[in-house]
C-alpha cells in the first residue's frame, strides 16, 4: 500500500471524508511517538543550548543567567586550549578513521574468502564492537599501565622505551593511546559494512576477469574498488563526523591530559560542562563545533543524494 494505491484511491474516491482524513493521518499517527520524543528531548535542548551560547550560565553561580552577547566567542577566539583541542580533533579523527578503515578493509577482504571456521572467526573479530566504549577505554588504559599491563614492558624489551612507562602520561605520545583503543574498537564497524558490500558483488565478474588473465591486483582495482566506492565514501564520511564527536575513550583514558595534549573539542565541551560547570561557555564551543560539522554534513547529504539518484 503506497504510491500506486494512493493514486488509485484519489482517482475514484468513494470514501467518506472522515475515512479519508483518517487514512491521510495514519502515517503521522505511526510516526508521532518517535517524532515527539526527538523534538522534545533533542531539538528543544538543541535550541536552548544555542541560546546558552549567548548567555552567562554557570551552575554554581545563582546570579548568572544574563544575556552577554558575543562575549563567550571573544573569549573563545583567545582560548589557546580551544585551538589545541581543534588541532587534536583533526589528528584524532584523521588517524582513527584512516587506521580503522585500512585495517577494516583488509579484514573484510580476508573474510570474504570462504574457509573453515569462518563463522566463528567472524564472531570473534567482531566482538570488540560489542564492548561498551567506557570498558574499552578502561581496558586499554590498563594495558598501557606499566603496573598492570604488558604493553610498556613489550615496548621496553623492543628498545622503544628507555624504561617501562605509561604512554598515556607522555605528552608526546599520549594521543596514540586513545587512537589505538579506538582503532581496536572501530575496525569491526568498517569490516562489517565493507564485507556486506563485498558480498553483493556478482561472482561471475571475477571469474570472467581471471579467465581473461587478470591478476589479483587488477581484479581488486577494476572490479572490487569501483563496487565498494559508494559504501566507502558514505561510511568514511559518516564515521568522520561520528568519531570527531566521540569523547568517551578520551574522557575515560586520559581526561584530556597530560597538559591538554589529548583534549579534543568534544571532550573539552564535556569538561567545561561537567567539571567547570560553565554551561554558557560549553554551549558556545558546542555551537562552533556544530557549525563546522554542519558544513561537513551538508557535503554528506549532497553526496548521499547523488549516489541514491545514480542507484
Amino acid at each position: 500500500m503506497s504510491m500506486t494505491a494512493d493514486v488509485y484511491d484519489r482517482r475514484q474516491d468513494r470514501r467518506p471524508w472522515l475515512k479519508r482524513l483518517a487514512d491521510a493521518s495514519e502515517p503521522y499517527l505511526y510516526s508521532a511517538p518517535a517524532l515527539i520524543l526527538i523534538i522534545v528531548v533533542m531539538l528543544v535542548p538543541l535550541v536552548v543550548g544555542i541560546s546558552y551560547a549567548f548567555r552567562d550560565i554557570q551552575l554554581l553561580n545563582p546570579f548568572s543567567g544574563g544575556f552577554i552577547g558575543l562575549e563567550h566567542f571573544e573569549t573563545l577566539s583567545k582560548d589557546r586550549a580551544f585551538y589545541t583541542a581543534l588541532k587534536n580533533t583533526l589528528w584524532w579523527t584523521g588517524a582513527s578513521v584512516f587506521l580503522q578503515f585500512g585495517f577494516g578493509l583488509i579484514l573484510a577482504l580476508l573474510l570474504d574468502k570462504p574457509f573453515m571456521g569462518r563463522g566463528i572467526v567472524q564472531a570473534l573479530v567482531f566482538l570488540p564492537w560489542a564492548v561498551p566504549s567506557f570498558l574499552a577505554g578502561l581496558n586499554w588504559a590498563w594495558l598501557f599501565n606499566p603496573v598492570i599491563g604488558p604493553i610498556p614492558h613489550w615496548l621496553f624489551d623492543l628498545g622503544l622505551m628507555s624504561q617501562p612507562g605509561n604512554i598515556l602520561s607522555d605528552p608526546q605520545y599520549a594521543m596514540w593511546g586513545p587512537i589505538i583503543a579506538n582503532v581496536w574498537w572501530g575496525i569491526p564497524f568498517f569490516a562489517i559494512t565493507l564485507l556486506a558490500a563485498l558480498q553483493s558483488i556478482p561472482r561471475d565478474l571475477y571469474e570472467a576477469a581471471s579467465i581473461d588473465g587478470a591478476s589479483w591486483f587488477q581484479r581488486f582495482w577494476s572490479i572490487t574498488l569501483p563496487f565498494l566506492a559508494p559504501t566507502i565514501a558514505i561510511t568514511v564520511l559518516l564515521r568522520t563526523v561520528w568519531i570527531s564527536n566521540f569523547a568517551d575513550l578520551i574522557v575515560v583514558m586520559t581526561g584530556g591530559g597530560p597538559a591538554d595534549r589529548t583534549q579534543i573539542v568534544a571532550s573539552y565541551i564535556f569538561t567545561q560542562a561537567f567539571k567547570a560547570l560553565d554551561f554558557g561557555y560549553a554551549s558556545a564551543i558546542a555551537l562552533v563545533l556544530l557549525v563546522l560539522l554542519l558544513a561537513y554534513s551538508m557535503l554528506i547529504i549532497l553526496l548521499r543524494q547523488t549516489l541514491l539518484n545514480k542507484g
Binding site: 511517538p33 528531548v41 543550548g49 590498563w142 594495558l143 559494512t193 568517551d248 560542562a273 556544530l290
Partner: protein, 276 residues
C-alpha cells in the same frame, strides 16, 4: 583450480593476527580479574598467573555497590530498548509503507539528529531535567536514551519492513482486514528477527552510554554501570583485580546481546551506515 599453499598460509596467519588483536585485551581483563592480589605485581606480565582466584568477583558481588549498578543498568537499558523498539517499529513502518508529504522532512530531521554532536546537549538537558526532578533518576536516563536511539532504530526497522513484500498485507486487506490489523497480524510476526536485532542494538547502546549518565547521575543509588565503574576506578585505583572483575561483569550482558544479534549485524550496520 589449484590453490597454492603459500597464499593460503598467509591468509590464515593474517586472520590469526586479527583474532589475537581483537581478543587479547579482553583476555588480559579476564586474566587480571583472576590473579590473586599478592601475585599481581610480581607476575605482572606473565600470560597466566601461577594461582588463580575468584575472590575479586565475590568481593565485587558481595561488598560493593556493583549489584545496584548492574540492576540500574539493566532497568535503564531494558526499558530503553523496549520503548525504542515500539516507537521505531511504528515510525519505521510509516516510512516504509506510506508516501506522505512530511516524509522527507521526517527523514531529514532524523538524519540531522545523527549528525550533530550529542555532547552539546549535555548542559541544556541537565538544566531542563533538574526542575522536573529527572536528574539523578533512572526515568530521566530512560527518556534521554530513548530519544537518542529512536532515529537509528527507525531506519533499522524501516530496512526490515522494506524487506517484506507488500503483496502480503495488500492480500490481507483485500480479504477485509484493516491496515492496522494487517500490520499487527502479518507484518509484525515476520519482522520478529528485526525486532530482536533492534532490541539488541539499543540495549547495547544504552548499556554503554557514559557522558550523559555521568552528568545526570550523582551518587550511588541511581548510578549505572559505566558511572559506577568510573567512580570506583577514581576512588580505589589500586584494586586492579576488583576493577577488572567488575569490568568482566559489565561485559557479560553486552556480549550476550552481541551473540544474539550477530547474524543481523551486517543488515543493521549497513542500514545505519547508509541512512544514519
Amino acid at each position: 583450480m589449484k590453490t597454492s599453499l603459500l597464499p593460503t598460509i598467509a591468509h590464515r596467519l593474517a586472520i590469526l593476527a586479527y583474532v589475537i588483536f581483537a581478543l587479547f585485551p579482553l583476555y588480559w581483563l579476564f586474566k587480571v580479574s583472576l590473579t590473586p592480589n599478592d601475585l599481581l605485581y610480581s607476575e605482572g606480565v606473565r600470560m597466566w598467573p601461577s594461582r588463580t582466584t575468584w575472590e575479586h568477583y565475590s568481593f565485587v558481588l558481595q561488598h560493593s555497590a556493583f549489584p545496584t549498578f548492574f540492576k540500574n543498568s539493566l532497568i535503564v537499558s531494558g526499558s530503553t530498548a523496549i520503548i525504542v523498539t515500539i516507537c521505531a517499529s511504528l515510525s519505521g513502518y510509516a516510512l516504509s509503507r506510506f508516501s506522505f508529504r512530511a516524509k522527507y522532512w521526517i527523514v531529514g530531521l532524523m538524519l540531522l539528529t545523527q549528525m550533530f554532536p550529542l555532547v552539546m546537549l549535555v548542559a541544556p538537558i541537565f538544566k531542563i531535567l533538574t526542575p522536573l526532578g529527572l536528574t539523578n533518576s533512572l526515568t530521566g536516563l530512560i527518556v534521554v536514551y530513548t530519544a537518542f536511539n529512536v532515529p537509528f532504530a527507525t531506519f533499522l526497522m524501516q530496512s526490515f519492513f522494506d524487506g517484506i513484500p507488500k503483496d502480503l498485507e495488500e492480500a490481507a486487506m483485500i480479504d477485509g482486514a484493516t491496515k492496522f490489523t494487517a500490520f499487527r497480524e502479518i507484518i509484525l510476526p515476520l519482522t520478529l528477527p528485526g525486532i530482536a536485532a533492534t532490541l539488541g542494538f539499543v540495549f547495547t547502546a544504552a548499556w554503554s552510554e557514559l557522558l550523559f549518565a555521568l552528568m545526570l547521575i550523582n551518587g550511588n543509588n541511581a548510578a549505572t554501570f559505566p558511572v559506577g565503574l568510573l567512580t570506583f576506578v577514581s576512588k580505589f585505583s589500586v584494586d586492579f583485580g576488583q576493577m577488572m572483575a567488575a569490568g568482566v561483569l559489565a561485559l557479560i550482558p553486552a556480549a550476550l546481546f552481541f551473540l544474539l544479534i550477530q547474524r543481523y549485524l551486517v543488515q543493521g550496520l549497513t542500514a545505519g551506515a547508509v541512512k544514519g
